[in-house]
């Protein structure tokens, strides 16, 4: 028991996390490029034309992964925020802070690509349907978390306030997810479900999954890179940041 606690504190400390993140970033980024390349190839050259939606349906290969990431990243951010509040652990708050911009970006992309799909398919860029409205609220929640954090000068208070905001907002995620079932929405129901067989061609599904894994790996890489920035910005004086960042400092000087 005491051993596991030692390991936990060891890996959650900035001096261990900074180089660990540095080693993980290139691997995640490289894998992300491979998965996205495979997904794009399948999506554009192997997956057949949809008999109802024509070629416009190919937008789902970027729309669905972006929408999934927008929800997944919010849950991850709220989870780190909760851990930060519960354990008073500063690295957890840094993690939540590092996730927010990427989550906001994917939410924006899900809304934009959804509009670009909606116009040719439904004949409207936007409708106030439960799925679309709750996804728009998700974007405001991300922006709210970021603005709240930026508007409070005292870092500890900024961390706690934005973490609480993020935690309260997490109720919106199940609303987005189940909106197509709870309300009669224009947005179509889930094409992929845990319980039923997927209602789409196998190659379409595979392309979508490859793109999702690619987006997921991309998110890990860019969030870890931002986590390193947050760590450097917060720890300018302590000794660890000098030793941990020594390698990077050499690169900058060279």
């Amino acid at each position: 028991m005491s051993d596991s606690r030692v390991t936990w504190s060891k890996y959650s400390s900035p001096q261990a996390l900074y180089p660990l993140a540095g080693t993980l970033i290139p691997w995640c980024a490289g894998a992300a490029i491979l998965f996205m390349a495979a997904g794009l190839y399948l999506g554009f050259f192997v997956a057949p034309t949809d008999f109802q939606q024509g070629e416009a349906y190919r937008i789902i290969f970027v729309h669905v992964p972006a929408a999934w990431m927008s929800m997944l990243l919010y849950v991850a951010m709220a989870l780190w925020a909760g851990i930060g509040l519960g354990l008073k652990a500063r690295p957890s708050f840094m993690m939540a802070q590092a996730i927010a911009p990427t989550g906001a970006m994917f939410t924006f992309l899900a809304l934009l690509t959804g509009a670009l799909w909606g116009k040719p398919t439904w004949g409207a860029w936007w409708v106030w349907d439960a799925r679309l409205t709750s996804e728009l609220i998700l974007l405001f929640l991300y922006l709210g978390v970021m603005l709240l954090h930026a508007s409070i000068d005292d870092l500890r208070r900024a961390d706690r306030a934005s973490a609480l905001f993020a935690l309260v907002g997490v109720v919106n995620v199940p609303i987005i997810y189940f909106s197509v079932r709870w309300w009669n929405t224009l947005h179509q129901g889930a094409s992929v479900s845990m319980t039923a067989a997927p209602k789409m061609a196998a190659t379409m599904l595979l392309a979508m999954l490859l793109m999702t894994i690619g987006f997921w790996l991309y998110s890990i890489a860019v969030i870890l890179a931002r986590l390193r920035c947050v760590m450097l910005e917060r720890n300018r004086q302590p000794r660890w940041s000098q030793s941990a960042a020594e390698q990077d400092v050499k690169e900058v000087r060279a």
């Binding site: 050259f45 024509g54 416009a56 972006a66 920035c229 004086q237 990077d248």
Partner: protein, 56 residues
């Protein structure tokens, strides 16, 4: 191969504008985010360097 020519591929059965704007914006956002984080890292390291210099 399901595309007869490159222009047919670009046209996307008449939906080219919607398809390419979707994929293009997503790609631009990702590239921009990576560059922004790199700039932020360089700025943070430079700030650390100048403070280090001021302390000694």
């Amino acid at each position: 191969m399901m595309w007869g020519s490159f222009s047919e591929f670009l046209a996307m059965g008449g939906y080219g504008f919607y398809v390419w704007l979707s994929f293009g914006t997503t790609a631009l956002c990702m590239v921009w985010e990576v560059l922004a984080v790199r700039r932020r890292q360089a700025t943070a390291l430079q700030a650390g360097l100048s403070e280090e210099g001021a302390n000694h």
